[in-house]
Amino acid sequence: MNGILIAIVVLFGTGLALGLLLAYFSKVFHVEEDPRIDQIEEVLPGANCGACGMAGCRDYAKACVGEGEPPACPVGGAAVSSAVAKILGTVAQDVEAMVALVKCAGTEKRATARGPLEGVNRCAEAFLLGGNKDCRHGCMGYGDCVRVCPADAITIYQGNVAIVDADKCIGCGLCVQACPSHVISMVPKSRTVHVLCNSKDIAALTRTSCTVGCIGCRICARSDAAFVIEDNLASFTGTTAESTVPYVCPNDVIVDTRAFSVRAFVESDRAREDFTAAKTEFKEKERLEKLAAAEAKKAAAAKAAQEKAAAEGSAKEGKDE
């Protein structure tokens, strides 16, 4: 009995002494910290599991306060996210889903090759040597983007052009950073019309280096104001456009994903044939329409002339009289 009592006393005493000591030192060594860190730490699961990529929940809490844009806590889920957002005073915003787009269709057949590059395995290395195409803005196809893509969404067509699978793309933007020629950009997932060229060269150069290069001719901008031309390069800023818009481009640079997927437009000869057929049809129709319009105009003009002549004639007649 006594022994147990002593044991309890000793344990209690030791604990008390240490506790007081700690309390004292925590005052002495107090470090000012953002109080929100503690608050956030409270609402976190507290498992210190490291699943978020940080060493422990406190680090995660600090990241929340610091960056303002924390990755989700995989353990806590939505509940924790909203709680954290509440503490930070932010609301989880609805951001438009973005996907990556490789703005190049310069396959082997279309883009002029520049002397073979030896000992090059990566785009970054190829870029040091000036690239493997005459066009310095196009895709070089060594797959630096494929290597960084966490979603396996990018494939390389014929070792020449990378194509992003918009369904697989999670919109992380790593490929945009990895691409030395800046040919990849993030576009809204809902956008259906794309300009598949990145060439900022003047028209004369673009023409010699690629058959599907944008020469900055502004024809597209005339048919749809959502096309913006900058540095000899058109870009589409709207969400969608009339399905006939791609047909106006003289170099077949514009793709409408409702008609052809980007992949088909780059890879498939068949799709190109279909496109050309449709384009010819459209042009023919346009030509006929124009012709008809011109004829109508001519007829109208003729009629007007006739009428005028008649009127004049009658006037003359009147004068004569």
Binding site: G115, P116, L117, E118, G119, V120, E125, L128, L129
Partner: protein, 340 residues
């Protein structure tokens, strides 16, 4: 004028035609004299051990490369063969084939390929395997057959010889010293240690002369620099000299320590292994001195008669730190303005 197109590559556009293969096969070549001496001294058994360990190493390398889906041709770059040969040279000649295979496996798979293959192993593969075997099979690894022509000696260097299976075994000179202190000394002839035909020991370490020849070849071909071997041998000699001067009854003289045991094979072939040795000259000197000191400490006061394998392995672990702390100042380096 029609323009011609050319292949584009990054500078520099010339190369000195050196290659890993050339380096490795030169090391292999440098080990040939020692191999010949040992085959002469121990006969067929030595040839068996060396052949098994070398071939097994190459085969294991091949298997590992296949498994990892890497270019299998890399197994002929000579590095696996050198590892296997070095391992074989550090084993006694009467060791069983099974143990050699285990050794080759440890060397190539555990100590090398697990870390990504040539260039990435933090520890010398052959030595890792040898130390592993020494600790896993202490018996077979410490029974040393007598060279040919000495089988009938009942006592060797003051140590009894034992008949095991069909070979007569005894302690190595270092083992004898360990057991009998310097009483054994008069029986050990430095000449024997140098030429190696009359002493027991692991296959490759018996002839200091043959190893020295190989070492000089490597120095001549500029495959190794003088720093590590000199530092190892000098530091061993230094401690040995001091202890010998203090108490010649207990401690052997420096020459004995130079020529007995694996000091030369260690100093010239194992400690200088590119992958596991420091890369800067200062680091090399410190590393060599460390190897030498640890070797002699283990030899004189430790539990094992020979310490160079342990010493090199331990210093292998220090190598990354030495590489970090002995970086020379770059060209035109100025002391960084302190206030910034």
């Amino acid at each position: 004028m029609e323009n011609r197109t050319f292949a584009v590559a990054n500078s520099p556009h010339v190369h000195d035609n050196s290659s890993i293969q050339k380096i490795m096969w030169n090391v292999f070549l440098a080990l040939i004299p020692a191999t010949f001496v040992s085959v002469y001294a121990f006969g067929f058994q030595a040839a068996r051990v060396i052949a098994v360990s070398t071939i097994a190493a190459v085969v294991f390398e091949y298997i590992a490369l296949l498994f990892m889906k890497r270019d299998w041709r890399a197994c002929f770059d000579g590095s696996a063969a050198v590892t296997g040969l070095l391992l074989g040279l550090t084993l006694p000649s009467n060791i069983s084939t099974g143990i050699i295979l285990i050794g080759s496996f440890v060397a190539i798979i555990i100590a090398k390929q697990v870390f990504g293959g040539l260039g990435h192993n933090p520890f010398n593969p052959a030595l890792t395997a040898r130390v592993f075997l020494l600790i896993a099979f202490p018996g077979p690894l410490t029974t040393w057959p007598l060279p040919r022509g000495l089988e009938n000696a009942s006592k060797f260097m003051g140590v009894a010889t034992t008949k095991v299976a069909d070979a007569v075994t005894t302690a190595t000179p270092l083992g004898a010293i360990k057991q009998n202190a310097v009483q054994a000394m008069p029986n050990i002839n430095i000449n024997d240690l140098v030429f190696g035909l009359q002493t027991p020991g692991s296959i490759g370490e018996i002839s200091a002369l043959a190893l020295l020849l190989g070492g000089i070849w490597l120095l001549y071909k500029k495959i190794i620099t003088w720093h590590i071997p000199v530092a190892v041998i000098a530091s061993v000699g230094f401690v040995a000299l001091i202890t010998w001067r203090i108490d010649p009854k207990h401690y052997a003289d420096p020459f004995f320590h130079f020529f007995a045991g694996g000091l030369f094979i260690g100093a010239f072939f194992m400690a200088t292994d590119y992958v596991t040795a420091p890369i800067f000259s200062t680091g090399k000197l410190i590393y060599g001195a460390g190897v030498g000191l640890l070797t002699i400490i283990i030899r004189l006061w430790g539990g094992y008669p020979e310490g160079i394998s342990f010493a090199i392995l331990i210093m292998n672990a220090v190598t990354p730190l030495l590489d970090r702390w002995t970086v020379p100042k770059p060209f035109g380096f100025q002391k960084v303005r302190s206030k910034s």
